[in-house]
Amino acid sequence: MSWFEKPAEAPARVPTDAIWAVCPSCKAYVAKEAWRAADKVCPRCNHHERLNCRERVALLTDAGSFKELNAEVSFNDPLSFSDSSGAYADKAKATVAKTGEGESILTGTATVEKIAVVLGVMDFKFLGGSLGSGTGERIRLAAEKAIALKRPLIIVSASGGARMHEGIVSLMQMAKTCAAIARVKEAGLPYLSILTDPTTGGVSASYAMVGDLNIAEPKALIGFAGRRVIEQTIKQKLPDDFQTAEYTLAHGFVDHIVPRKELKAFLANVLRYAGY
């Protein structure tokens, strides 16, 4: 076989992850520096890679303005839950140690283009962003803080849904968070919900879907039931775009899809319409 007949192969020197980021969607190699500069959005396919909560805070708020609230509120283990892979309490503790976060949402006060807000940002890396009792409590406290300070409330969701390990107690966080959001609205304060990849299950069926505005990132997975469960129920394959941000917008449940680069300016702009 002469050289020009050789099939295309991986480059002889495999790029190291010190230099390259690989887009999880289109597998393009992107220089790490460019990947960071683009806030983890792929320049080739516009895939919006998940951000952790601190990266998201840095993206949305004015530098140095964020002050964390209720860091001491952490996970609970009301059922003393164990499954085949061990105790939930051990898993949660390991997650706290690994992520440096106490729960699946980070809450605090901040400014967005000088507008003072209360902000909550979920982190998918913390047990799949699942809604546990600590998450619900942090959201309630954030909502009550927004009311006390007369500030808009913004929550960025990234979650698979309720946290099974906390059983019924996690289900009740859906009711609790919605009750707190209802109070924010009764106080006449804006509540903006940002749905990022993924926002499903018990989080989509509670605080994430009841924003004055529901704002989504491009291509984010947004839905109630899981794709596999639906396919088993209806015994049909679902189209690729099912439960994407674009699908959700087309069906009337999202106000606007905003690319990551424009999200902060978009929030500030709509808050100005709300009188801030």
């Binding site: 085949s84 609790k176 049909q236």
Partner: protein, 270 residues
């Protein structure tokens, strides 16, 4: 005697009783405990869900708005009722009826019995998540008393979508859970056949939920389960609901709503 010899049932056994084909459903309860029932149809937006029904009802002389999941008896009825799995139209109808209850000064009685909200593509397209979420928000601030009775299966968000209330009652052999034992087992045990273990770990029985402070009271069932004596079960439900209504109707609406907020906020706090 039968009661004395009955040994303590495992959570998985209780799941079987909660799902029993002959277990009294909302149609039975309406027949057995309501003096009058005027069904009200439709969400005024898309359609009329047969898996979640409601209307005006009179219970022990007290006028209320009754809503609840509807399981059928037999195949045809169950297909019509979609096995008690409500669609967005069902949750929106429930909200419409609760709004009427508030307007007319009637308390709401909600009967919960569903495997879960319907996980179909049309339900997604019409906003299953949004419909449930808005009910949660709306029920938290509804200015009229709400009594919830979990009569059979309290299946996750589909149950909670009509289960935010001032008093949460549960039948002795009902279950209420964030996920079905089968679903939990297939995810966390990677083996659906471990459902009995998952049922136990999830603490889904009335007794466990009372201990966790999620429900207020357990309504006793006849020996062998509710299906053994639907009339006696309905009588016990009626008595418990009327006692709750009596207490709640005496509370000023403002404190009632404030207490409801505190009740749900306390859940999951150490």
């Amino acid at each position: 005697m039968a009661k004395k010899t009955e040994k303590k049932l495992a959570a998985w056994d209780i799941v079987q009783i909660a799902r029993h084909a002959e277990r009294p459903n909302i149609t039975d309860y309406i027949r057995l405990l309501c003096d009058d029932f005027v069904e009200l149809h439709g969400d005024r937006l898309f359609g009329d869900d047969r898996g979640l029904i409601g209307g005006f009802a009179t219970i022990g002389g007290r006028r209320v708005v009754l809503i609840g999941h509807r399981k059928g008896r037999g195949v045809d009825e169950n297909i019509e009722a979609n096995f008690g799995m409500a669609s967005p139209e069902g949750y929106r109808k429930a909200m419409r009826l609760m709004r009427l209850a508030e307007k007319y000064g009637l308390p709401v009685v909600s009967f919960v019995d569903t495997p879960g909200a319907y996980p179909g593509s049309e339900a997604e397209a019409r906003g299953q998540a949004e419909a449930i979420a808005h009910n949660l928000e709306f029920m938290a601030t509804l200015k009229t008393p709400i009594v919830v009775v979990v009569t059979g299966e309290g299946g996750s968000g589909g149950a909670l979508g009509i289960a935010v209330g001032d008093r949460i009652l549960m039948l002795q052999n009902a279950v209420y859970s964030v996920i079905s034992p089968e679903g939990c087992a297939s995810i966390l045990w990677r083996d659906g056949s471990k459902a009995p273990q998952a049922a136990d770990a999830l603490k889904i029985t009335a007794e466990s939920l009372k201990g966790l402070g999620i429900i207020d009271a357990i309504v006793p069932e006849p020996a062998g389960g509710a299906h053994a004596d639907p009339a006696a079960t309905a009588a016990a439900v009626k008595k418990a609901v009327l006692a709750c209504l009596e207490a709640l109707c005496a509370v000023p609406l403002k404190s009632l709503v404030a207490q409801r907020y505190d009740k749900f906020c306390a859940m999951g706090c150490r």
